[in-house]
Structure formats: structure tokens, C-alpha cells
């Protein structure tokens, strides 16, 4: 394993295919008591037609990352402090609020977690769909109706013409989530963020929904950022994955590489805690302790207090980003050639799915 020391910035690739590049993004929430560093210096990129998974425990900054990409961080407490979000070649952090409205929905969009609450209860879904379309295309009512029907058909809603006059409460959860998807994708954005879109659905519907997203992606070249805490879903959906811990991306790379050779002890622990069918275990693996408070972060590596292999160095300063291969990066002192502690090869054996 070659470990070359590199700067965090190099995680951002400069490729023609790259539609979204995030560079050293920091989003803080300023409360009277403390500053919550929800997103604290993350960098990643997304190519056309690619699915990037963002994985992590609750409260590690995943959703705040998503909201930052849309510039919808709850104000006035929340603020993007520094960084760059380059979408289709333009840094959206430089845009005015008016210009952002043209970006939202048309260049980047988002599917929210809970379909039960994502649709406005007092308007028909036809109304809500047409509204999304109407912002982008100024057309007559008739062709808009056609577009709304097409949008519903694209997410496999049966008899879409009849569904337009329904209110959200007349639909099932899975149906609602498909409508939310139709709204999010109606203006054909290049990037869509899916924030745990299947957590509120039951298992069979989940699978259907994931397949649908994949299908749409294959047809349109959509770039998807898939936010989840479920490594199983990552394996099914994503090309690359970024593992977040306490506001930072601690490891990212191709899904295959991360599963076969996770470099960061936290990633290893996460993968170990996924139940496996082929293995009989008495008790699921769990990581002891809890993630640090984002308002009171430790000085050194943020995972160090929970890490079995942590040294004094880990507790003192945050590690650099080390490049393994093909865009596989991890922030861990054990990857440093000068590391004195337990060699990384002797950490928990990689337990990726065989093959």
C-alpha cells in the first residue's frame, strides 16, 4: 500500500465530466451558547451520471451539507463560512439570492427524507407539479398539463392524468415519494441530492424506489448525491462514497475500494456493523461511545476518543489526507509512513463483501 502525503484540496478533480466540485466547504450554526461546526472543511466532486454516497451517523453534518449545496442553510443562525461550490463551472456561493432561484430546481434539486410531510397538504399534486414546471418554462396551461403528466409517468405513477387532481393525503407513502421525486426532477437538473429518500418507506417499496432512481439516471445522466446511513444502500446505489464523521469527510473513494480495503478505522467499524446474511453472529458489531458534539470538537482526530488504535498524536492534531489509489483518500495518522502505533494492516481485518 503506497501512502503519499497530499493536500486535502486534491480530492477535487478537475475533469470535464465534473458537474459539481465542492472545495473546503464550512457551514457553521451560530447559537448564543456555542458555534456548531456542522460542516467543517469538506471537499468532493461529482461527475455526470455518477452516484456519490455520503455516509455517516445521525448528526455528522450530512443534511447540512445537502442544504449548503442548495444554499438553503436555515438562517439567520446558519451560515456558509468559507469554501467553494462549483456547479456547472460557476461558484454558486458568489451568486445573489435571485440568481440562486434559477439554480435551484433547474441545476440542482433535492428529494427530502419524509414523503409524508414534503408535499403541501392543501394543494393538489398537479398544482404543485405545475408550479415547479411553471418556474422554468413559461408556457400555456395546456402544454404544462402535458408536462406534469409526463413528469408523473417518468416516476412510474399509474394513470397520471387522474392523479393530478389528488391531494397528498389521498396517496400512499411510496406514491408520495415518487411525486416528490417527479417534482425534484421536473426541470431536469444535472444534480439531485437524495437525503435518505427511502428511510420512511417500507422495504419492498424502498427497493422499487432505488431502482427507479437508477433507471432515471441511466436515461438522463443525472448526477446523484445519495445521503444515507446505510452501507447496504451504498453498495447497491453508489459508484463512489464519502464517509462523514463530525463534520468532515474522513474517507472517500470508489465503493469497491472502500468495501475491500477501508483505510480509516471508523469506516472499518461502520462496515463491520452492517449485518451480513452469510455470517452467523450472536451480536451485531457496535462502535462504543458517541460522536463528539459539533459544538465542542476535540483538537485532534475527531474519531480518536472512540478509536482503539489512537495514539497521542491522534489526540493532539488532526491528520492529513492520505491518498491510497484512484481517488481513495483517508484522514488517519496510521497511514503516515512515520506512524509508530499498531500497523494499519493489523487493524480490524477488512470485511467487505467477498468478490
Amino acid at each position: 500500500m503506497t501512502t503519499t502525503v497530499q493536500q486535502t484540496d486534491s480530492a477535487v478533480e478537475t475533469n470535464d465530466e465534473v458537474i459539481l466540485a465542492v472545495n473546503d466547504l464550512r457551514t457553521y450554526i451560530f447559537t448564543r451558547a456555542a458555534t456548531v461546526k456542522a460542516v467543517d472543511g469538506i471537499s468532493f466532486s461529482l461527475r455526470k451520471g455518477e452516484t456519490l454516497g455520503i455516509v455517516g451517523e445521525s448528526g455528522c453534518g450530512k443534511t447540512m451539507t445537502a442544504l449548503s449545496l442548495l444554499r438553503l442553510v436555515p438562517r439567520p443562525a446558519g451560515r456558509i463560512v468559507t469554501g467553494e461550490i462549483v456547479l456547472n463551472g460557476e461558484d454558486i456561493l458568489q451568486k445573489s439570492e435571485d440568481e440562486m432561484r434559477d439554480v435551484r430546481g433547474r441545476q440542482i434539486s433535492m428529494i427530502l427524507q419524509d414523503p409524508q410531510t414534503s408535499l403541501n397538504p392543501v394543494f393538489t399534486i398537479g398544482n404543485q407539479l405545475r408550479e415547479a414546471l411553471g418556474i422554468a418554462h413559461k408556457e400555456n396551461k395546456r402544454s404544462m398539463l402535458g408536462r406534469a403528466v409526463d413528469a408523473l409517468r417518468s416516476v412510474n405513477v399509474a394513470a397520471p392524468e387522474r392523479r393530478l387532481d389528488d391531494y397528498p393525503h389521498q396517496m400512499s407513502g411510496g406514491m408520495k415519494q415518487r411525486v416528490v421525486g417527479a417534482i425534484a426532477m421536473s426541470c431536469e437538473p444535472g444534480v439531485i441530492i437524495a437525503d435518505e429518500p427511502t428511510t420512511a418507506l417500507d422495504v419492498t417499496i424502498q427497493l422499487q424506489y432505488l431502482r427507479l432512481l437508477k433507471e432515471i439516471q441511466a436515461n438522463t445522466g443525472l448526477g446523484i448525491i445519495f445521503i444515507t446511513h446505510d452501507f447496504g444502500v451504498v453498495a447497491r446505489m453508489c459508484d463512489r462514497v464519502a464517509v462523514m464523521y463530525a463534520g468532515r469527510i474522513i474517507e472517500q473513494g470508489e465503493v469497491r475500494d472502500i468495501f475491500n480495503a477501508p483505510a480509516h478505522p471508523y469506516t472499518q467499524a461502520l462496515i463491520n456493523s452492517v449485518p451480513k446474511l452469510e455470517q452467523r453472529v450472536g451480536r451485531l458489531y457496535q462502535i462504543d461511545g458517541q460522536p463528539p458534539l459539533l459544538s465542542n470538537l476535540p483538537e485532534g482526530c475527531r474519531f480518536a476518543p472512540r478509536c482503539a488504535y489512537a495514539s497521542d498524536q491522534c489526540l493532539e492534531s488532526y491528520p492529513q489526507s492520505y491518498h491510497m489509489k484512484d481517488g481513495h483518500y483517508a484522514d488517519c495518522w496510521a497511514l503516515d509512513p512515520a506512524w509508530q502505533g499498531t500497523p494499519i494492516a493489523e487493524f480490524i481485518a477488512p470485511t467487505g463483501r467477498t468478490g
Partner: protein, 305 residues
Amino acid sequence: MQRFIILRLLQGLLAVFVISLIVFALSRVAGDPLAAILDDESGKEQIELLRKQWGLDQPLHIQYLTYMRRLLTGDLGTSFKWDRPVAELIAEKLPATIQLSAFALIITGVIAFPIGVLSAVKKDSWFDTGGKMFAILGQSAPTFAVGLILMWIFAVQLGWLPTSGKGGLRYMLLPGFALGYYNVAAIMRLTRSSMLDVLDTEYVKLARIKGIPEWRIVWKHCFRNALIVPLTYFSLILAVLITGSVVIETIFAWPGIGQLVIQAIVSKDHITVQAIVMLFALLYIGINIVTDIVYAYVDPRIRYS
């Protein structure tokens, strides 16, 4: 929807019946009406004669039945004090009261809803703080005090508006605002808090993700959802306004039903009091039914359940 309306109407009827019982009972425990219109020199026979004439010698339940029978045929009885049919008195005074109440209601709606919405959108700004102070003042100052202070400033000191009496729009401004102020404050606060809740929902987030302009999010997506709570209150105040006009009409010498009822109470004219209280009760119930139907229009979830 039809079933919904019929059910509400039946519930309303039941309420009217119960209220009629209460009103009747209250007016009988309030004292002997004959004592008010007769003086000490009236002879015993004269008293007995009047008692008989007005049916006051009958047992209470017979009196109630007579009262209800007349009520159903539209006969509200004859006033002791004015010696005229009560229905005629009410018909004479009611339009002035409705005029004043409607005006106060319009003032309330026009001021309260926009300020409430803007206070929520611009939460913690100077505008919100100003609105809060305006509301606290309105909620804590009694109607008669507001009326008197307004009269002193705008009529006595500045001389811009007339002090009292009935006339054109100029005459309505002061009593209308005095009557509406308390409710402006209440509706403003209700609208604000309910808007804040709605602004925080996922569907508003989705609307923002769609790239919809903020004004449209506020007035289309939020306002209609936020309307439910203040709407309940708004409809109730229509009734409160009519009953509340009792005080304001007295202060501003507005010749409405409020004045009538005060005079009737003072002279223990229980026939008139009964009729007016019944009228107020009917208004309350009627307005409530209309509100329920408006809800069903605003929120489709109520319509279909």
C-alpha cells in the same frame, strides 16, 4: 360534504335549545320586572292585573313554553319599557350595530393578517418587535379605555374626527378601531405563530428547492396552511364584536343594539333582554357553522374525512 353540513346544523339546533333554557332561567332570577315599572303607590290590584296580563302568574314551565311558542312564530314579545314589540325595536337598532361590527371586522382583517405574516417572515426584526408591542397594548388595554383615549386624541385634541353619534365613515373610524383593536392584536399573534410553524415545514423546504420566489412561498404555500388557527378566532370575533359593541356603543353614543340592551337591563325589561341575548346566541351558532364550512374549503383533509 352534505352530511358534514347537516350534522353541523343539527348540532346548532341543540345548542339553540339549551341556550333558550339558560336565557329564560337567567332573566327570571334577575329580579321582579314589575318592581321596575311600578312605583310604591301602585295598588295591589293593579300589580296583579299586570302580572296576569304578562303571564307572570303562571308557573315557570308554562311561561317557558309560551315564550318558546311565541319565539317560533317570530313573536319576541312586547317590551315593558317602551311598550312596543321587541322585534320592531331590534329591527330598528340592529343595522347600525352590524354596520359598526362589519367595519371593525374589516379593519381587523386588513391590519392583522398582513402584519402577522410579515412579523413571522421578518422574525426578530424591528418590525416584529414593533408589532409585538402594538399587540401587547391591544391585548392589555380594555376596549372602553382604548375608546376613550382615541376619542381624547383624535376628537378632542386634534379635532379630526367627531366624538360621537352616527353618520358617515368619519363617525365609524374611532368606534370601529376601538372595537377591533383587541382582536387585531390577538389575530396578529395567532397568525404570526402559526406562520412560523408553517415556514419550518418540509413542504416549504421543497418549495424553496423548486426555486419558487420567496413572496410566493409565503403567500401561496404558507398563508393558506397558517390560516386555520386565526380563522377560527376571526369568525368568533364577528360575534364578539356584536356583543362587544355594548360598551363601545355606549361610549360613542352609537344608536345600536348595544345601547338598547343596556337600557333594557337597567329597566329590568326581561322580555327585551331575553330576545337580544337569544339573538346574540343565534349569531354565535350561525357564525360557527359558517366557519366550519369555510374550514372544509380551506383544508381538503377536513372536506374528505
